[in-house]
Amino acid sequence: MSFLNHVRRVAALAGAALLLVSTQVSRVAAFAVQQDGFVPASSLPQTQSVSAPALVLAAYGLVWLFVVIFVFMMWRKLGALEKELGEARREFSARKGTRS
């Protein structure tokens, strides 16, 4: 009795697995057939659709990122120039001191 139950359980599981695999295979096959021609956008897998608001926001954000990076680089160059200028001033005043 227990052996028969075991066989039934295994058969039921195998049947369910077979059904699941066959439905997935037929789905993939149907999509592959559709790929040969035009594919309606509604039947595309969810992963293939890109969110337009996200792209627009990304583009807008990147514009500002580039501008901010450039202004930051300019500010750093200005800082470096001011530093060099300070060093030159100190050097000149030291030279004046030694001459006098």
Binding site: V56, A58, V63, F66, M74
Partner: protein, 218 residues
């Protein structure tokens, strides 16, 4: 000139504060939907890249033919800005293309020529930085070539038909799309002018400092 920089920045800031609301209120395009709204900063950035390339080219011509030092500073500053705005164009374009065409990049005449032009200005700056003594004249020649590319890039969409929309698109925009577009162009122009003026002044100060150091050493 000194008073014009803050004025340009104030005007740019005022327009940038208003333009996002106008862009948001603009209707969606029939075939592309919302994604077309990248036009409001993609095209103005491309315009600034063209303007910058022309400024760099004219200044480079003055460096080559008149040996003008001030023109050299303007050329260097304009080349840097051509790279910045070119980078914006080359990054925002693929984001638009991904939704509109289904691909990030296509070796379309407009896209390829824009990339080549951007690389020419990268070469300009690299030549100035690593070219050693006398590299100003060489980089100025490269700047002239950069400016010569502008008409090719601009008309590439009309001459060699690719996937990129033609130059005739902008005049056909309805008023609800045209107003935010031209305001955005004005904002970019003000921002560009202010940054260019500051960058030229910085380049001038650096050159003056180098001259003073050389004079002190002598």
């Amino acid at each position: 000139m000194k008073k014009l920089v803050p004025l340009a920045l104030i005007v740019a800031a005022a327009i940038y504060a208003v333009v996002p609301f106008l862009i948001n209120a603009a209707p969606e395009e029939a075939t592309m939907g919302l994604i077309y709204k990248i036009i409001f900063f993609h095209v103005p950035s491309a315009m600034m890249m063209f303007i910058s390339a022309c400024v760099c080219g004219v200044a480079s011509a003055m460096v080559v033919f008149k040996r003008s030092e001030q023109a050299d500073h303007i050329a260097a500053a304009a080349a840097e800005l051509a790279i910045v705005f070119g980078a914006i164009v080359l990054v925002t374009g693929p984001l638009w293309a991904r939704k509109a065409w289904g691909i990030w990049w296509e070796w379309d005449p407009r896209l390829t020529s824009t990339l080549v032009m951007w690389l020419v200005f990268c070469a300009f700056l690299m030549l100035r930085k690593f070219g050693g003594p006398g590299s100003e004249s060489l980089s100025a020649a490269v700047g002239l070539f950069g400016m010569a590319l502008v008409p090719f890039v601009y008309w590439s969409v009309n001459v060699w038909r690719g996937m990129h929309p033609r130059t005739t698109v902008i005049p056909t925009l309805p008023e609800t799309m045209l107003w935010p577009f031209w305001l955005s162009v004005l904002a970019f122009l003000c921002l560009y002018s202010a940054i260019l003026a500051v960058r030229v002044r910085l380049e001038g100060a650096r050159a003056e400092f180098e001259h003073l150091m050389l004079a002190a050493e002598d």
